[in-house]
Symmetry: C3
């Protein structure tokens, strides 16, 4: 029952050039190393070029520069990874769950659920919340009060929207994510902490994707905002009143402190830490494990940190780092001495 497509039909559908037999049929996708004769594969990352000659795939998507090396019929794309993503989606057998509300769900009387939405087992929905057309709320999700889940959005399972969380259209949230928890607002009063009420919400734009166990706190007074098509990986922490610009993507384990604004089209690599109350402009790339303490006003690539070494060498070098200022002064003095 697998869907099958001819290379010719795929070439036409996605505007790709064809080299070789267009009647070859593929019914799935695979890696260069593992794909079989009824599957399509792809070469995007030059690191894997060595696997092309021996692939058993029925067909391959690759760049024009590589096509002479292809041992099978090929589709030519300027960006093979994008083309592959679009073709692979044809074979992805996701069946949307049926509309309706599971008998076990606990839904407040003032909540409004569109008839075409799917509400799964053990879901809890609070007062005045709205679930729009075609939304999918998987098992164990908790949606608190005054939330909106926009049309076509999906909460896979065990997602929590605490309160005042507004999801746009086609937002996808993976298990364990928590949106709308209290921002970390504390004031110090006579030796103790007092809590600053967090009266804002969270606004997530259309087509955003939020990874497993990622947390996005609601704002203190204004909202915490993700613009459209923002993509967050797993285990990311977004503090209260952060604003993330459209089409920005962040890899796993990033942390962004409160009130920081990040521009459009930024790429934030894994484990980056970003300070609060700063501003990062559009088109900024921050490399893995970088720490951003101050605003970035110029597009470009940025990094911090040190490189891995054997532990013994590292220990010696790290010890010297603690005297780097003295060392620099010595070097300056040596450089200036007329006798030198």
């Amino acid at each position: 029952m697998a869907t099958a497509h001819t290379l010719a039909s795929l070439a036409q559908r996605f505007g790709l050039a064809l080299r070789g037999d267009g009647q070859v049929r593929v019914s799935g996708v695979g890696t260069l190393a593992a794909a079989g004769p009824d599957q399509l594969t792809f070469l995007a990352n030059p690191r894997y070029r060595g696997e092309l000659a021996s692939t058993r795939a029925g067909a391959v998507v690759l760049r024009a520069a590589e096509v002479e090396s292809a041992p099978c019929p090929a589709l030519i794309a300027s960006d093979p990874y994008v083309a592959f993503a679009k073709i692979a989606a044809l074979f992805d057998p996701r069946v949307a769950p049926a509309p309706g509300i599971h008998g076990s769900a606990d839904i407040a009387a003032s909540a409004r659920i569109d008839p075409s939405a799917h509400i799964g087992a053990f879901v809890s929905i609070g007062a005045r919340s709205v679930i729009a057309a075609g939304a999918i709320i998987g098992p164990g999700c908790v949606i608190g009060e005054d939330c909106v889940v926009g049309a076509g959005s999906e909460l896979v399972a065990r997602v929590t929207l605490v309160m005042r969380v507004h999801l746009g259209h086609r937002v996808l949230i993976h298990p364990g994510a928590v949106l709308g928890a209290d921002g970390f607002g504390l004031a110090r009063d006579g030796g103790r902490w007092i809590k600053v009420p967090q009266r804002g919400g969270v606004v997530i734009g259309d087509d955003c994707e939020i990874g497993a166990n990622t947390t996005i706190d609601r704002g203190a007074l204004e909202d915490t905002v993700l613009e459209e098509d923002v993509r967050l990986d797993n285990q990311i922490q977004i503090a209260h009143n952060v604003r993330i610009g459209a089409h920005t993507a962040m890899a796993g384990c990033v942390g962004v402190a409160g009130s920081t604004k990040i521009g459009h089209n930024c790429l934030i690599a894994g484990a980056v830490g970003i300070n609060g109350h700063i501003e990062i402009c559009d088109n900024v790339v921050v490399h893995a494990a970088g720490v951003v303490l101050q605003s970035i006003t110029q597009p470009g690539e940025y990094a911090s940190g040190t490189l891995l070494q054997d532990h013994r060498s590292w220990r010696r070098n790290a010890t010297r780092f603690k005297q780097l200022d003295e060392m620099a002064r010595s070097v300056n003095a040596l450089s200036k001495d007329p006798k030198r």
Copy 2:
């Protein structure tokens, strides 16, 4: 139906000086930039001073030094952020959920639930656990065996207390937090790992707050302990047998390894990593992304790491770091040479 207060009544209630018309009424709070004529705003962080002149707020809380610049009636506070937090709490419309046990909850026969506690949908409570007066257990929480939730404590939703977790009074835990899971105790035996049973518990003092998706493991033999008024942000990892002193606060993504003791009144910034089996004294501040490998015996501010740069410059500098010890030796030799 919004609560409204006159400035005069707020000044009296919170011991603040008043400048201007005390009959001005406010029914909410807002930022300098967004507040309207029926709202109170505040100026605490000098970074935002430029927004004061143009605020449309009905009134502002600020320091005495700023009051001449206020375009509206003002309340004067030595710590405007604290004053604002207390006033904002008057307008926070949180309505406590009604006492009682949701019909779907699964509660062990030997558990004891105070009649004034609220137990939400899909909550699971295990043998011998106790839920005290006024406690709120939100939807989807799992409380295992031998736990105690103290009076006035709240588990917002989807919180797990695995076993032997003891919460004091007025503890607030945000969604996805896991307390009392097995500490990471492993012993290496003939090429394989064997698990070390974790037979302790977790003790959380009064007024602690624990962020979303934060994890606190139970101890191996003794307990893992948070003293009173400890505030933990999201995505924090506290390993087995850690002890955190009263009034210490940690920002998001901090990790503390096993058996470490942290003193009172410490401020641990985001993404800090703290080694195991060390001791940090009272009144220590560790800056963002710092790595603490050894005990700290003196109060003060500490940091580690490098500063962000454009990627090309960083690459060159990071490469030099790998030869820092050699460089230091060269500098020492140059400094000592009599001919130099």
Copy 3:
């Protein structure tokens, strides 16, 4: 009703030498500082040697070199921590929950549950999934479609297996963990992101342990794989298509990016970040907070980062790091100058 064992029986059972009265009975375990006369304690970490003389424990496990200092009967072990772990397990009063399916569980018709398995409250199990003999699925777990939970495995509570997750025998997963969520596959197409379908699964070998709130994504085409006896602490992120070799252990907050292969018997300390598409050989140790950007081909210990200092000194040294390349060039020039 506590279990009690004589030292003589413990010595025989675990192949340990005995010094002193073999008829001493112990009915539990405790730390050097806190154990009482009916408990066994241990000395493994030399850091705690000072506590040995004053222990009130009924007996102690330690190395031969320490036995003269023991104030009580002793069991002698070459690895006291391993011996203690095995003995402690005799006193760990874990009672397995009874077989059967809780009345509230929501189980797909095509799922297969072994009669000896335990399915807890509010558990959701999807189509074609299989739960094998003696498996324990705790409250609030969500198991999606096409999953397998192998014999004797346990999901403590609130664990999510999204789809196509295959657990071997005796796998233990702590609360909040999410296995099988979509890998972070994105392709950039004309200014927007498109999602790359993640069609692989997750395979977890026998005897693995996975910590609280840890996330392991499923693969893009092939599976994400943990070999047998891999131990992951809390808050770890494992990206799609990673492969982790047998007997490797990782402490809390580690992040491993996509398609990386890690060998056998590696020890990855807390908060380490590991780049994608690299390979780490067997028997590698990476120290806490290290960042691994390139493949490691030699067994040994590795580290990166800088050491903590008072903030003022750190600030000066970190500023100098930004000119390290210039400094190195100056030093080289000074070293070469014939006049010098």
